[in-house]
């Protein structure tokens, strides 16, 4: 398990947290890793919060349920409240500071404030906030390479959505930059 990494993506229903997690899982698998992506599927209806966990490992993955994940990317306040305290000591917490104006208050983890909505709007599409976040996370942790990530994005989007691809790639770049900046600050 020493080689195992876990990350939770959590937010409102429409914020694309599931997609972000899946893209990460595809990418890690492409790079030869063992992966599990698991949603916390809510009641049989709309609304509320959504989250998924991605586990990436070099060897067989045991429990798909993670007591205390290594990292979390939270997109809204309820998600911060829920996952902020669950992260493992020494773990990483990415907070969408466009919508959340507080922090976890913990000092035993690394916390990064990333205004992903604002950045996404700048990049051309508010819906790309999840990609900004994913890029920030990937850049910070190096869990996968950007090269594979971009290839998988292309593959998943297919050829039809050229425009969307551009926006998402731009979002990646912004997120990546951001992560570095924050890291330097941190």
């Amino acid at each position: 398990m020493a080689d195992q990494k876990e990350v939770v993506f959590a937010g409102f229903g429409g914020q694309g947290v599931m997609t972000a997690g899946q893209l990460l899982a595809y990418t890690a698998m492409e790079e030869g890793k063992q992966v599990v992506w698991i949603p916390s599927y809510g009641p049989e209806m709309r609304g509320g919060t959504a989250n998924c966990t991605v586990v990436v490992s070099d060897s067989r993955i045991g429990s798909p349920i993670i007591n205390n994940p290594m990292s979390a990317c939270v997109f809204n306040r309820p998600s911060l409240d829920k996952f902020g305290s669950m992260i493992r000591k020494g773990g990483l917490l990415l907070i969408n500071s466009s919508l959340i104006d507080v922090t976890s208050g913990r000092d035993d983890i690394t916390e990064m404030l990333v205004p992903v909505n604002d950045i996404a709007i700048k990049a051309g599409n508010a819906k790309a906030a999840n990609m900004v976040m994913l890029a920030a996370y990937v850049a910070t942790t190096g869990i996968v390479t950007f090269e594979t990530l971009k290839r998988m994005l292309r593959e998943k989007l297919g050829t039809r959505k050229e425009e969307l691809l551009e926006i998402n790639l731009k979002a990646f770049e912004e997120g990546r930059k951001l992560a570095k900046k924050v890291r330097m600050q941190g």
Binding site: P43, E44, M45, R46, G47, G48
Partner: protein, 253 residues
């Protein structure tokens, strides 16, 4: 503060002050209100038992201010029969979606109606399985796209939509059967009158009553609430004509 005496539209007493889990623009909410207003106006709340279905309205027991039973999928009419036979002095209603009533619960609704069980059914037809994420219902329109008919409902494989009001109206046992809709204010007003009548007939111990209400599901139809209203009017309403299909008061005359 405004003078409450001048309030000409407010939340009915039978409806709790609770934010519902329904999606924005989902007309389940309107139908709830009409039922609650009817209970209020007829003075029935304190002796009413609602039977919730399995469907998006499964949690309605949290929104109403009267006793409630939650039924297995489709079986609300059987529960209502059991309860009402034990307590003929009480008012009983079921509230069911189209998957619940017209698919899995077809046997139960037909037989309850045919026995003339003296309860009221509010049948919310939104042409889809809302709660489980938008699969085809028996009421789904031809060519309508759903998660189990991604290319649209193919009537050569799945048949045509079932018209419940028409179907039940053929039964010989006296009953009140009507179809309404809530896609514009005038329709809402009419729906209210019809729903209230259904409860009044029960109050008078007359007969089984069923009101089918055409309703929207913006989420699973993949449309804005306003577009949903349009789609209902243009696509559903012609196939599901509004009107009173069976009326014990007319039969008598």
């Amino acid at each position: 503060m405004a003078n409450e005496a001048n309030m000409i539209f407010a939340r009915p007493e039978s409806l709790r002050e609770t934010i519902t889990h329904y999606c924005p623009g989902c007309t389940h909410g309107i139908i709830h209100r009409l039922v609650a207003e009817s209970l209020d106006e007829l003075g029935l709340r304190e002796r009413t038992v609602g039977v919730a279905p399995v469907g998006c309205s499964v949690l309605m027991y949290n929104y109403f201010n009267c006793d409630f039973l939650e039924a297995p999928h489709g079986r609300a009419p059987a529960l209502a029969t059991g309860f009402k036979r034990c307590r003929p002095d009480m008012i009983v209603f079921t509230y069911q979606g189209d998957g619940d009533l017209a698919s899995i619960g077809m046997g139960e609704i037909i037989h309850a109606a045919n026995r003339g069980e003296k309860f009221t059914t509010i049948f919310v037809n939104n042409a889809i399985y809302g709660m489980t994420g938008g699969q085809m219902a028996p009421t789904t329109m031809p060519e309508q796209k759903t998660t189990t008919t991604p290319a649209g409902r193919d009537v050569s494989l799945a048949g045509y939509p079932i018209r419940i009001a028409e179907l039940l109206a053929t039964l010989r046992t006296p009953a009140f059967v009507a179809r309404t809709a809530v896609h514009n204010p005038m329709r809402v007003v009419q729906a209210k009158q019809i729903i209230k009548k259904a409860f009044r007939l029960q109050k008078e111990d007359r007969c089984f009553s069923l009101v089918e209400v055409l309703s929207t599901c913006p989420t699973n139809w993949g449309m804005s609430p306003a577009d949903s209203i349009e789609w209902l009017k243009e696509t559903m309403q012609p196939y599901y004509p509004l009107g009173i299909y069976k009326d014990p008061e007319k039969e008598k005359a």
